[in-house]
Amino acid sequence: MKTHPAGCPLSGAQIVDEYFIENRTRLLEIAAFLDRLDRVDRECAMRDFRMQVFRDAVDALGTPGDRLNRIQLLLSDPTVEPLDRLDRKSALGAYDRQAKESRS
């Protein structure tokens, strides 16, 4: 028999009370990261495929509803074909859509 989801026992006000400070910190860390990159190399922020997706993800935060899943999909490889050969061992954190388009 399926167990119904519990939901979150906290009220909205309790969630804000409990989690505001740590998420304020995260928000400031993201702002500092973007400012740091601007100071050092503003073009990189525009050029690097990871940062292009990062900007799209930040924009997605502004639209309510299922933000996390939308950002996960922005970051994910949408293709279905396996690689013919191993290119590297590790993932990079975001999918390079422009490289895929230039290859095809």
Binding site: K2, H4, S76, L86
Partner: protein, 278 residues
């Protein structure tokens, strides 16, 4: 609170970590076969690792009252090497009767190459042939969604597979529906950066309920936390979830899944019965 960590690479951890696990309520760990962080040179090297998993680690864990079980596989990071994979697969059957080996794992994709899929498919067939539980690794970061889809597609080709005997690990928000809807178990591995956090894992439980979901630390040689499951417990309590729900996720669920192997002796309601080793 007692708990089971179904995914812990203890060969990479110090004995102090076993002590931390014991002090925080861990009664059993299961250790999937893993990548050493560098590629092994031959099958003999992997076989020595299998001996470490089956002979040495259970004794180390037992010093702290923790039961140690393991899984056999060529792991996804080395699965693109077809020659090594074939060599290792030929060596696995002789370990499957060992009293602490629960099944085949962790198998799956890394970068999702044709070779990785071929090796994964052969390991699924090995599990079917020997009636083993299966533990599946899903890839990291941008590769996770594609790798999970292909892993599930391969499993669905085999009518012999009971999805209730397969746990698909490292699930996140964008893959968990795909896993649960097909009847598989889902594992949430709590990791500082590249997997799911304790807070997000609790969100998943709140949205999906606890059915067929387990949590684990997946601690290894990289930045990771051997007591990640107790941090999940703390996060559940922070949100005022009842202990019965928490214990369901951290103890009863893994006990239910793992007890499908008759070798796993920690029952959902009873006391631990140490496995005999060596």
């Amino acid at each position: 609170m007692r708990y089971i960590d179904h995914h812990a690479h203890m060969v990479s951890r110090t004995t102090d970590d076993y002590q931390q696990l014991a002090l925080t309520g861990c009664v059993a760990v299961t250790e999937p076969a893993f990548w050493a962080g560098w590629d092994r040179s031959c099958g003999d090297s992997v076989e020595d690792y299998f001996r470490q998993l089956t002979e040495f680690e259970p004794r180390r864990a037992a010093q702290y009252g923790i039961q140690h079980y393991t899984w056999m596989a060529i792991n996804p990071k080395e699965a693109d090497d077809r020659a090594l994979s074939r060599d290792v697969l030929a060596r696995i059957p002789k370990f499957l009767d060992h009293p602490t080996v629960l099944g085949i794992g962790e198998i799956g994709m890394n970068r999702i190459t044709r070779n990785e899929i071929a090796t994964y498919t052969e390991q699924v067939e090995l599990a079917i042939a020997h009636h083993q539980l299966i533990l599946i690794h899903t890839p990291h970061l941008e590769d996770k969604l594609k790798g999970t889809r292909i892993s599930v597609d391969v499993l669905r080709r085999y009518r012999e597979i009971d999805p209730g005997r397969v746990l698909i690990d490292h699930a996140e928000e964008h893959t968990i529906d795909l896993i649960l809807e097909q009847g598989f178990w889902a594992g949430l591995t709590l990791y500082p950066q590249t997997k799911i956090s304790a807070q997000r894992a609790v969100d998943v439980i709140e949205k999906h309920g606890p059915d067929r979901i387990c949590v684990a630390g997946a601690c290894d040689w990289g930045p990771s936390d051997p007591i990640a499951v107790p941090r999940f417990i703390m996060e559940m309590r922070r949100r005022r979830h009842p202990d019965a729900l928490i214990e369901r996720v951290v103890f009863e669920n893994p006990a239910r899944f793992l007890s499908q192997s008759p070798k796993f002796k920690v029952t959902a309601t009873g006391a631990a019965q140490p496995a005999r080793v060596g």
